[in-house]
Amino acid sequence: DAGVTQTPRHEVAEKGQTIILKCEPVSGHNDLFWYRQTKIQGLELLSYFRSKSLMEDGGAFKDRFKAEMLNSSFSTLKIQPTEPKDSAVYLCASSFGTGGPEVFFGKGTRLTVV
């Protein structure tokens, strides 16, 4: 399966810890997105990369959230320090990036902060 791969699938962290979530986009895709999903807020965009350049860094998430894309096939999302309100599903997605194309999502990482 050449879809978006996210690891780990589940993560439990204590308040104040640093966690790093990983994502491998679909090979050849130029755009990569990180979303956070909660029942209350729904799907919120955290970061958006185009050809490894950061295009958008969600304002509300800037202080403790940092996404990086060191190469075209790998991205990380670091949360430092974690807080209980960060408990959510974090979704990575990728697309070719032009003409309103399909966006492919990974299965997500469920983060629980205790």
Binding site: L45, T98, P101
Partner: protein, 110 residues
């Protein structure tokens, strides 16, 4: 918000019934995506309708787009139990960046 006043909605229907879900959006878009999300998985695209299309069909799915009223709908004909999922609409422009609506939880009962 990109979207109108819209919280996560829930619909429950019997197998075999038809169902329509609606979305409205505030800002310009060139395309409306409809995604479904099954439990434990990320959203998956099921149908995409562009601003120059009024209707798009795919199997039992039918999407409409009215750019004048900035609204879109997704209809499922003869719903089946396996259609049970959360359905999202999302708007996008010429980039891949999407803005999602709150979603509709659809339950199809046997």
């Amino acid at each position: 918000s990109q979207w109108g006043e819209e919280n996560l909605q829930a619909l429950s229907i019997q197998e075999g019934e038809d169902v329509t879900m609606n979305c409205s959006y505030k800002t310009y878009t060139t395309v409306v995506h409809w995604y479904r999300q099954d439990s434990g998985r990320g959203p998956a695209l099921i149908i995409l309708i562009r601003s120059n299309e009024r209707e798009k069909r795919s199997g039992r799915l039918r999407a409409t787009l009215d750019t004048s009223s900035q609204s879109s709908s997704l209809s499922i004909t003869a719903a089946q139990c396996e259609d049970t999922a959360v359905y999202f609409c999302a708007t996008g422009t010429n980039t891949g960046k999407l803005t999602f609506g709150d979603g509709t939880v659809l339950t199809v009962k046997p």
